[in-house]
């Protein structure tokens, strides 16, 4: 009898433990599922109240479009989980984000400066507050626009405002890239008749030719500390990867193969450079120590991987892979060594935003913003045609 009682008691305890464990597992799995859904394709509904004050309508439009462009927020007229309000006067914007369900304020902040900048900063704070994802609405995009006759270099705000044409070379421009501090743009131009690399200091409006060696000078990218450029030179025969000081001078050769190497990109710690090489038949990705060393293959699926771009957090490589009809953008995760397609369709020239989640790419003459987690994209309209090679400032 006693053992039976013990068994019953033990069995009861066992069942209780099992039940609790299952319930716990169920609860935590369903919580996990909810988390996945939120960071999946479900957007957060955010209600935009009518902004008050001078230029309020413009500020409201900018914030609404910024939030929509993140592809993580759905700006609604009513019944949002959150609501956004702002009042604008003179050179200041008071913005507030409220949790409508709880009726509590998430944050309220005062911004100062030029109207568009204030609105973009407010949008970034809203995104970061709701998702912990850093916003990119204050970023500028450098890109190339034009046809064969004249491809010029432009910059614009991410919403297509403040378009500036930086060149009038009436020649072929290509490969724009930003310095980390946003003060300079490096690019390639045939303005001399030959493909040369230039650096433009934006505030001063000064352009300097940094590389004009025999052969090709192209694909310049700034090192994270802004002191050097990695680039493609064919001065020694076939196109290889070199580094050179941003003020020009004698380049340092990094690769030495019988293949063609192009399209370098720096790791965020400046210690490595990734590029593509066809040394083994068709383009594949390789890394090399920026101080020099042996190239190491990064194995990605498919027969052609090129145009690598290292994410600012160092964890991923965005790149183009050639399919039958064109290119698609994929992302390679360095830790897991797993690659997957992130573009919804054809895409090339990927350039990461500051948050290592969104990137910009080009397809068919238009520029797009992509959320690499949900694979949704939004076209960046700017009224120009034949836009390629976007590079977004961080």
């Amino acid at each position: 009898m006693r053992s039976q009682y013990d068994l019953n008691s033990m069995t009861k305890k066992l069942y209780t433990v099992l039940f609790a464990a299952s319930l716990g597992a169920l609860l935590s799995s369903s919580l996990f599922a909810i988390e996945v859904e939120v960071s999946g394709t479900k957007k957060i509904a955010v209600q935009i109240s009518a902004f008050q004050g001078a230029d309020a309508a413009l500020a409201q439009k900018i914030v609404t479009e910024d939030l929509r462009r993140t592809l993580m927020i759905d700006p609604v007229v009513s019944q949002g989980s959150y609501s956004v309000a702002a009042s604008v006067s003179g050179g200041s914007l008071n913005g507030k984000l409220t949790d409508t369900a709880r009726g509590s304020e998430v944050f309220s902040r005062t911004y100062s400066g030029e109207l568009r900048k204030m609105a973009h900063e407010f949008s970034d704070d809203i995104l970061e507050s709701l998702t912990q994802v850093k916003g990119f609405s204050t970023s500028r995009v450098a890109f190339i626009s034009g046809t064969q006759g004249a491809k010029e270099l432009y910059t614009m705000d991410i919403d297509g405002a403040n378009i500036k044409r930086l060149t009038s070379d009436k020649s072929i421009s290509a490969n724009p890239s930003w310095s980390a501090d946003g003060s300079s743009i490096a690019y390639m131009s045939y303005r001399s008749g030959y493909p040369d690399v230039y650096v433009i200091k934006l505030a001063q409006g000064i352009r300097t030719r940094v590389a004009g060696f025999p052969g090709i000078n192209s694909g310049p990218v700034f090192s994270p500390d802004g002191q050097q450029l990695a680039l493609t030179l064919s001065k020694d025969g076939n196109p290889e990867i070199y580094t050179i000081s941003t003020s020009g001078g004698s380049p340092t050769r990094l690769t030495r193969t019988r293949g063609t190497e192009t399209s370098p990109s720096w790791s965020p710690d400046g210690k490595q450079i990734i590029f593509n090489s066809d040394e083994r038949g068709s383009n594949q990705l390789f890394t090399i120590a920026s101080a020099g060393g042996e190239p190491i293959r990064i194995t990605t699926p498919g027969t052609y991987s090129a145009e690598p771009c290292w994410s600012p957090d160092g964890s991923k490589i965005a790149y183009s892979t050639r399919t039958g009809g064109g290119f698609c953008v994929w992302v390679y995760d360095i830790a897991t060594r797993v690659a997957k397609q992130v573009s919804p369709g054809l895409a090339e020239d990927p350039s990461w935003t500051c948050n290592s989640r969104h990137l910009v790419y080009s397809n068919n003459g238009s520029l797009y913003l992509l959320d690499t987690v949900t694979k949704q994209s939004a076209r960046l309209d700017n009224g120009l045609t034949n836009c390629t090679e976007p590079a977004i400032s961080r």
Partner: protein, 189 residues
């Protein structure tokens, strides 16, 4: 107890070694990659035995000709019939194209004061950057071939336009084949 002969033993050992060392290569279908060293001593499938450039060849990149602007000082019409065409993703000179190079060499011999600017071009199917490199290698291949035919190195210059100056803007195989070319331009100054 069976005696194990040396032969059997060594066979077994060899077999074991073979089985141990032929491990599983990463499945190409899976999306998991890895890292491996680039052995630059291994021949690449892309190498054409007649056109190896870089430090290994004796032909250096040509310095740019003084005072010449490739946009205004090169006439591509004079030798346009000798435009050399290439296969996809290749810079090797097809045997069917070699007669054109002989003609170019003869023209240069008959016009001893003239110099060439050879422009290299591609179709649109690679990346912009890579195509600039491929166009360069096509132009350099022409230069190397002509030097091999006896033309002085300092008479031949090269420039690449990659995919940026197509001969045919169509998006079909015929257009692509017309764009994969090197054009012998005559420097007019």
């Amino acid at each position: 107890m069976k005696k194990i002969t040396l032969l059997t033993l060594s066979f077994t050992l060899s077999l074991s070694l073979i089985l141990l060392t032929t491990g599983c290569a990463p499945d190409a279908k899976s999306h998991t990659g890895g890292a491996e060293s680039l052995d630059s001593g291994l021949p690449s499938e892309n190498i054409d035995a007649t056109s190896i450039l870089g430090a290994e060849s004796g032909i250096a990149q040509a310095a740019r000709p003084d005072g010449i602007n490739p946009e205004t000082d090169v006439d591509y019409s004079i030798l346009s019939t000798e435009t050399v065409y290439f296969n996809y993703d290749s810079f090797s000179i097809r045997s069917s194209e070699r007669a054109k190079l002989e003609k170019i060499a003869k023209w240069l011999t008959d016009n001893s004061g003239k110099r060439l600017m050879v422009s290299g071009h591609t179709d649109t199917r690679g990346t912009l950057e890579y195509n600039r490199g491929l166009g360069e290698r096509r132009a350099l291949a022409i230069r190397e071939y002509l030097v091999g035919l006896g033309i002085a190195q300092d008479r031949i210059f090269t420039i690449s336009y990659g995919e940026e100056r197509p001969a045919d803007t169509g998006d079909n195989e015929n257009a692509h084949s017309l764009n994969r070319r090197a054009m012998p331009g005559v420097i007019t100054k």
